[in-house]
Subunit: 206 residues, 2 copies
């Protein structure tokens, strides 16, 4: 099956701007992408990264550049290639087990909700489906599928739900991953802080 | 197996104080507890709620009152009753499927991490284990188990990970539940709002 990974290498993770510089956000996003690629078995799946341009990272999988918005890019792929899985690039807790769980159900549309109502991964088996990543997309995707008479199912996984958007999300990376993104955070001085309330990260300065 | 559900009926969910009054936080907490009880098959499991006093809710399961702190209460139960499952009362996305997944592994200690590093549910099969709910407890619980030579495993479930602490967590209840807590929010005017960034809830005033 084709597995498409959309990736923004230009100005990624703007909601981390108070925590990381642009250059650091790029490095950290590249590390998360490596974690996602490490989780997807490329022997059995046809993995393709579609990136914003310019893009100069060397990747071990097919890489396509596009200047189209995310929703348009993904809908073009769905029109030409089903079944297809679309997996976001900012899921640093992902492991092969979650990819297996994502590909297991036979529903027309398999959704992996993100924290906050995004769609972190989906499998589309019918080209009458289309995505719309604006707004609370997991709700919209269920509605779109229902309107077109397509069956849906949702995957219950925290590792799939955790896309990194905000500083508090970095806590989960430090807690539950030992991959590239976690290594990057540790190398750059991040530790878990618990000031009372939900934990966040702090940065050690030497 | 004994399933213990610790419940704070006095001053629950203080981090929702800007969103809900004390009376509303109590009502909403009761609704979440009903959802948790609905998810746990009481025919096959020995369910017990241990509550702060005073407590005047009528529950369909054994109810015990205690004025001890959470950690002490749970450790007393572990000392006298293993195997035991401890499930938090503020998990409104919980369904029977997640209880099945929690009870399936045979590890000495099975952990269900919460968003932010809490321990939303655990199964303890060896009474040399003890809990410590202060701090980033899922990390501490793994360390405690390791120090005592006990095997551990983690359950990867967003429905188990989502304990309601902050207003943004209410979004997940509206999106992914049709139980008592979700009903309560809808009856009290809550809708999903997306001001840009991660969605939150807004309250309609008539």
């Amino acid at each position: 099956m084709k597995v498409l990974i959309p990736f923004d290498g230009r100005n990624p993770k703007t909601r981390l701007s108070n925590t990381l510089t642009l250059e650091e956000r790029r490095e950290f996003s590249n590390a998360m992408l490596r974690d996602v690629l490490d989780a997807i078995p490329s022997e059995s799946l046809d993995v393709e990264v579609v990136t914003t341009e310019p893009f100069d990272l060397e990747l071990p999988v097919e890489t396509t550049k596009s200047s189209e918005p995310l929703t348009s890019v993904v809908n073009e792929y769905i029109d030409s290639t089903v079944p297809i899985a679309i997996v976001m690039a900012d899921l640093p807790l992902l492991q092969t087990e979650q990819i297996d769980r994502l590909l297991e159900p036979s529903a027309d549309v398999v959704l992996a909700p993100g924290v906050g109502g995004g769609t972190n991964a989906l499998v589309v088996r019918d080209d009458s489906f289309s995505v719309d990543y604006h707004g609370v997309s997991v709700r919209d995707h269920q509605r779109i599928a229902r309107n077109r008479g397509l069956s849906t199912t949702k995957i219950d996984s925290f590792r799939l739900a955790l896309d990194v958007d905000e500083p508090a999300d970095l806590v989960e990376v430090l807690l539950h991953s030992s991959g590239s993104a976690s290594d990057w955070l540790e190398s750059n001085g991040f530790v878990i802080a618990k000031p009372g309330g939900r934990p966040t990260v702090a940065r050690k300065t030497d």
